[in-house]
């Protein structure tokens, strides 16, 4: 008898809270759950981001007093020939990190879109290996592969093409594509796994319908497989483009931007400007430009392919 009202009020309070229409103390206390994480996030991500933007408008060597520079640093990033060339190298890297792996991934689904794959887990595990290795380890492995006495030159010798052999990462003509190929190696497995997984989600009826309509393998690929993979392609593009534009670790650990400036990338320029030559304002402006570039390109990819998927 005495417990009944208590149960009722608890239930009543509970129901009210569950409906959560009440903006009282209990609800504002819910923000406490966000505090620890957001304190760290604000201190070590948001605040530094704002400060980078601020630095980019100053002329500063990191020690003496900074002077207002307006947009001078941005003008320098856009007009300086070395800085421009680094962004050019990024475009080359997009070819190697994004375009080639995507094509390789699409080739595999074009060949076997409706075949049951045997040992799929084994293939996935192995193809994913490059994704989990530290970039420094990858760089060490590929330095050996590209070395003067490494396996590539050994194969060339075997084919009596020894005249072509060289130190691939040390040659002005080949350093940039050689570094790019490391990126292709890192990314193609990811694309294959993503696309093979995506194809299996395309309803079999679509393929049957295409066949009844007399579609050959080529038309089938373009009218069923490719549209069905839109989501996966968009993910692959976003991931690989981001990695191509942020390529610092591999360059630092293979060529250090050389020979000359032939493999220099924006991230490297930012590092050097900030911590070696101490042109902090310029480095900050370059990082803002790089960040905006990543945001704009990945945003455009997502928008294009997602809106296409709604049609």
């Amino acid at each position: 008898m005495t417990t009944a009202p208590a149960v009722l009020t608890v239930a009543d309070r509970g129901a009210r809270r569950a409906r959560s229409g009440r903006p009282g103390r209990a609800r504002s206390r819910h923000y406490l759950y966000l505090v620890p994480g957001f304190a760290l996030y604000a201190a070590f991500t948001l605040a530094p981001l704002v400060q980078t933007i601020q630095y980019s408008f100053y002329d500063w060597d990191g020690i003496t007093e900074a002077t207002w520079a307006g947009v001078d640093n941005y003008v320098a990033v856009i007009t300086d020939p070395v800085s421009r060339s680094t962004f050019g190298h990024s475009i080359v890297f997009i070819f190697f990190y994004t375009v080639l792996p995507t094509i390789i991934g699409l080739l595999i689904v074009a060949v076997m879109s409706r075949v049951r794959i045997r040992f799929l887990t084994v293939f996935r595990t192995v193809l994913f290996l490059p994704q989990i290795l530290a970039t420094v380890v990858i760089a060490v492995a590929w330095r050996w592969i590209f070395a003067q006495d490494g396996p590539i030159n050994a194969i060339l010798d075997l084919l009596s093409l020894g005249a072509l052999s060289r130190a691939w990462l040390g040659d002005f003509a080949t350093a940039l594509p050689a570094v790019g190929l490391i990126g292709t190696w890192i990314m193609y497995g990811l694309c294959m796994v993503l696309f093979v997984g995506g194809v299996q989600k395309i309803p079999v009826e679509l393929y049957e319908a295409a066949r009844i309509d007399g579609a050959g393998p080529v038309r089938e690929f373009f009218s069923v497989t490719l549209p069905g993979l839109r989501g996966e392609i968009s993910i692959a593009l976003v991931l690989t483009v981001t990695n191509a534009l942020r390529n610092f670790d591999i360059v630092w650990n293979t060529t250090s931007g050389g020979p000359g400036t032939s493999t220099l990338v924006p991230s490297y320029l930012i590092y050097e400007g900030a911590f070696v030559t101490r042109e902090v304002g310029f480095a900050a402006a370059a990082s803002v430009v790089l960040t905006l570039l990543i945001l704009v390109i990945t945003g455009a990819i997502t928008r294009l392919l997602r809106s296409g998927a709604d049609r």
Partner: protein, 271 residues
């Protein structure tokens, strides 16, 4: 039927080629690491290079540093992200959209955008070349992905769970502690694999924020310095060092590959 068989053979051949190429670089440094270095008396495969790398490169210290930093980041990130994800998806705090938008910034932001002020900050706090210099920023870099991850997971659970729990008189903390946290353990485990991997492999932050003190440097950074010193170090020993740095992650991957893979793929989807 015949076309399908041909397709199957061609496709599998393609996959095998892809798998061999994916494996080759790691296997080749493995083979190089096991082969005797110049001046060695060993005639077959040998572990000498590993010993040599271990002592000369100080990898016992740097592997410990990496493990310590990564575990600290995983533990703190998992905890604060579970709290935040719970507040966003179950408690549905107000201004949720705005909070998520702010979090989204962290999901796409490259390290380059915050590395310069981070260096100044750590330098003025006297934290350069300490574990803190790496742990704090890396918690902040993983926080966005981790929070979205936990929010998605908690949000997909039936809302009747929270209602039933509050009908029983539990407050929001008790509901998290006794209902959501136990259910979220599997999601948290996959997330931990992902954060561990990112933290273990991080290079640029380590390079900038712990440049001078070898006793706190992480394994990838030590490897980079060790391998950069090619004139004094045999390639076989460098290869052994690379295998030492890769091995903890490769072993973890071998045992937890499903978690790693689903983590990487779903993490990608969220980006």
């Amino acid at each position: 039927m015949k076309a399908s068989l041909k397709e199957s053979i061609a496709g599998h051949a393609f996959l095998i080629a892809g798998a061999v190429i994916a494996l080759y670089p790691f296997l080749s440094i493995m083979a190089q690491a096991l082969s005797p270095a110049p001046g060695s008396t060993a005639s077959g495969p040998t572990l000498e290079n590993f010993e040599s790398a271990w002592t000369r490169g100080g990898f016992s210290l740097s592997l410990f540093s990496s493990a310590f930093v990564a575990l600290a980041v995983v533990a703190v990130t998992g905890f604060v992200a579970a709290l935040a994800g719970y507040a966003l998806s179950v408690l549905k705090v107000r201004w949720r959209g705005l909070i998520m938008a702010v979090l989204l910034i962290g999901l796409v932001l490259p390290s380059e955008a915050r590395i310069i002020p981070l260096y100044d900050m750590m330098s003025s706090l006297g934290l350069l070349n300490t574990y803190w210099a790496l742990i704090l920023p890396q918690i902040a870099s993983s926080f966005s992905l981790a929070t979205f991850w936990m929010a998605n997971y908690f949000g997909a659970l039936p809302s009747s769970l929270a209602e039933a729990s509050s009908l029983d008189g539990a407050n929001s903390w008790q509901t998290l502690r006794h209902v959501y946290a136990p259910l979220g353990m599997s999601a948290l485990a996959t997330l931990s694999c992902l954060v561990f991997l990112y933290t273990w492999n991080e290079f640029m932050l380590a390079l900038v924020l712990m440049p001078d003190d070898a006793s706190v440097q992480t394994a990838p950074l030590s490897l980079s310095f060790f391998a950069g010193n090619e004139r004094n170090t045999e390639p076989e020993v460098i290869a052994a060092a690379a295998v030492l740095v890769a091995l903890p992650v490769v072993i973890a991957y071998a045992f937890l590959q499903r978690r790693f893979m689903s983590g990487l793929l779903e993490g990608a989807v969220k980006e």
